[in-house]
Chain length 433, copies 2
């Protein structure tokens, strides 16, 4: 018979892998809750039209499109932001702003598979809609850092680079580079991780940027202190508010106890063209892999999709890179399965009693794995060990006859006898030494 | 600008709706854990070939197919079972059986929308693979009943009808109806909820079943006690083991404390052709809606997909019908959002202090919603009420000057003064009367 093939680039989560994922999802949810974000969810398919309006051609070819049914052309979402925008626009009159929303969304892109990049991934999305001050940036970053803490990662493990699209924009303006070249220039500069500076230089030349201006752009990108930026942009009037904003951001980050995580790096671009202000990316300290999380301010999205204008800040935090990082650091939670109780029985005559014991344990609020068929005690207890059962009860003919059960503490081997009745609360069954 | 359309038949979960869904998912996960099921997850897309091999033509037209990319024809799953089978077959040599697996899976079908039926739904899947005794059926049903309990539903609200495909098969055999007509006959009988008995009669005639045999089939379907079935099938030798099995099932269900939920009803068919033994369906007591959950034994699936033969029992429990039922009963958890602390501030001069207070609260392990911009106390406290904050701290110029903060208990209005320092643990901050 023909072998069944799995879908390429998509993951199966067997129980062992599922438990690891669950640790990550719990950390994400806890961080969202701790920072006052509300969870929501959008469909994994959206209309292709919406996805393309937000994404632009850049990623269109990577979208999994569905065969048309009933007049709608649907597609698997490559990112959550278009859905968020659609949901907010649909209720823009009813919702209270600013709002802080979080979602864990599976997203799909058809692309060449490589380290840290499959054809689907899960992504925590944190968005604040309706706040123009950099409190929004600091809060989404604070929540992401909190999730990292919950996973056992701190500032010795990762850092966050902070840039500003508006800063670049002002610089480009001051160099006389036309606004309609700005996005293309940003995309060129964004490739600096992947291609050489010489090749970036060529791309900028293609955009009609002069050699002298390219020199100035690279000078700016290599700056690492706000003071130097102030000096460089001293003569440029429109730079004032933008410099104030980023200065404000760093001060507020200090108040929030996040200063150790952040470094100023005007070369952070974030590929997508839609960012308008501060942008950020987190990397492991060795910069071995793709960004752990990233995002920034995108103040024009809602209006570009037909909503009223509202300032937005968003952050995306994928599951693949951080899980790889935890594995590399040897700190991936290899979560052992466990169960409160294992109950087994010798043969079919013992089964009714075993079933009653299991029911009683479950009604006490505890987890119980009940053996499904008769087995020898030795086999039962070794299975109990494999399940990592904390306590175990085996029902043989003696138990059936006497009505007494033996609760065995699987950690230290101690045993306690117990007579089962309708009021037995297994939560209070201590096994004494 | 053109309005953005939402994908038809797919749901948005705004925060209020998300919280309701979360209550259901938590109940499902708790039930799975309590009964020793391990959670796993399969991709939401699978190869169309796998889905069609399992589903048959019956639902093929309802499958959302993706445009072919890279040589694989993928599709959104209409059900989880094919993926489960694929995952088990891929590791059949390594896994220990019997295994008990659970998953909450979103499934998609393109069909006419109606009450209790959208184009996607979430479904808890509970499967036991590798156990031939009816302990498997009792355990999956026990877990589903436990989930219903966790949602506040009990035997006065719903009941579970138990049938047997093998019983029907033996009866058809005994009537001389050829085995290759069996599936078609089952599908005809399965329509009894939707079409009249006269029409079912016609469908059976089309399958070359004689009028006399149809009478016998309807007689069997109307039986509601095991004793009557025994009487009816008394002369049929192959019926013995099947009657023993279903008798055994009801005894074991009693031991497990589930007897009040179950009734015998040989007319339970379950549309899908792949069931081989006991089948079951849960309905609300008024039988107002589609099945709440259902399933049964399917012993041939793995071998039909190229794996080694292993007996299987599965149960699917959708999110839509049970949520509708809870709403109709007025018992849908209208979960109010809440947060441990709300922190706000008067103006930008007060912001750094407010940020430090929020950080300290979060580091104490509590949830805190921090205002994003300056606001008047009145506005802050009314926002705090809307958030359902348990405690609230407002930072004005006095707080900044004195370093003393006022923690207000939002339930009773009591206030306590506090000096913030690095060791302040907000978990231990009681607000006295």
């Amino acid at each position: 018979m023909k072998k069944i093939s799995a879908p390429k680039g998509m993951r199966d989560f067997y129980p062992d892998e599922y438990r690891v994922k669950q640790v990550l999802f719990r950390a994400w949810e806890e961080a969202a809750r701790k920072f006052g974000f509300e969870l929501y969810e959008a469909p994994v398919v959206e209309t292709l039209e919406l996805l393309e309006r937000k994404a632009g051609e850049e990623i269109s070819s990577q979208i999994y499109v569905l065969d048309k049914k009933g007049g709608q052309q649907l597609a698997l979402r490559p990112e959550l932001t278009p859905s968020l925008a659609r949901m907010i626009i649909a209720r823009q009159g009813e919702l209270s702003f600013p709002l802080k929303w979080a979602s864990i969304a599976q997203c799909f892109r058809y692309e060449r598979m490589q380290k840290g990049r499959k054809r689907e991934h899960y992504q925590l999305n944190l968005d604040i809609v309706g706040e123009s001050s950099c409190m929004a940036e600091v809060e989404v970053l604070g929540a992401a850092v909190h999730a990292m803490h919950a996973l056992g990662l701190n500032h010795t493990d990762f850092h966050i680079r902070i840039g500003s699209r508006s800063l670049l924009s002002v610089l480009f303006d001051s160099l006389g580079i036309a606004a309609d070249h700005f996005t293309a220039c940003c995309l060129a500069l964004d490739k600096r991780d992947k291609i050489s500076d010489v090749d970036v230089h060529k791309l900028l030349i293609n955009e009609n940027v002069s050699t002298g201006d390219i020199k100035k752009i690279f000078e700016l990108l290599n700056i690492r202190s706000l003071e130097d930026v102030h000096r460089m942009l001293a003569g440029i009037e429109q730079a004032g508010p933008i410099l104030d904003e980023i200065t404000d951001f760093f001060e507020l980050a200090s108040d929030a106890g996040l200063r150790d995580y952040f470094s100023f790096d005007p070369g952070v671009i974030r590929g997508l063209g839609y960012y308008t202000g501060i942008v950020f990316e987190a990397f492991d300290r060795n910069h071995q892999s793709r960004a752990i999380f990233g995002g920034g301010r995108y103040d024009n999205l809602l209006s570009s999709l037909g909503g009223h204008n509202l300032p937005c800040v968003g952050l995306g935090f994928g599951d693949v890179v951080v899980t790889d990082l935890l594995k590399e650091l040897g700190r991936c939670p290899g979560i052992q399965r466990f169960v409160d109780y294992a109950v087994g029985f010798m043969d079919i005559q013992c089964r009714p009693f075993a079933s009653r014991v299991a029911s009683r344990i479950r009604r006490s609020g505890l987890d119980c794995d009940l053996g499904l068929s008769g087995e020898k005690p030795k086999r039962f207890f070794s299975r109990g060990n494999r399940l990592n059962a904390r306590k175990a009860v085996f029902i043989g003919p003696t138990e059936v006859e006497t009505g007494l059960i033996q609760v065995k503490n699987m950690v230290d081997g101690r045993v306690r006898s117990l007579r089962l009745d309708e009021s037995t609360d297994f939560k209070s069954v201590e096994v004494p030494g």
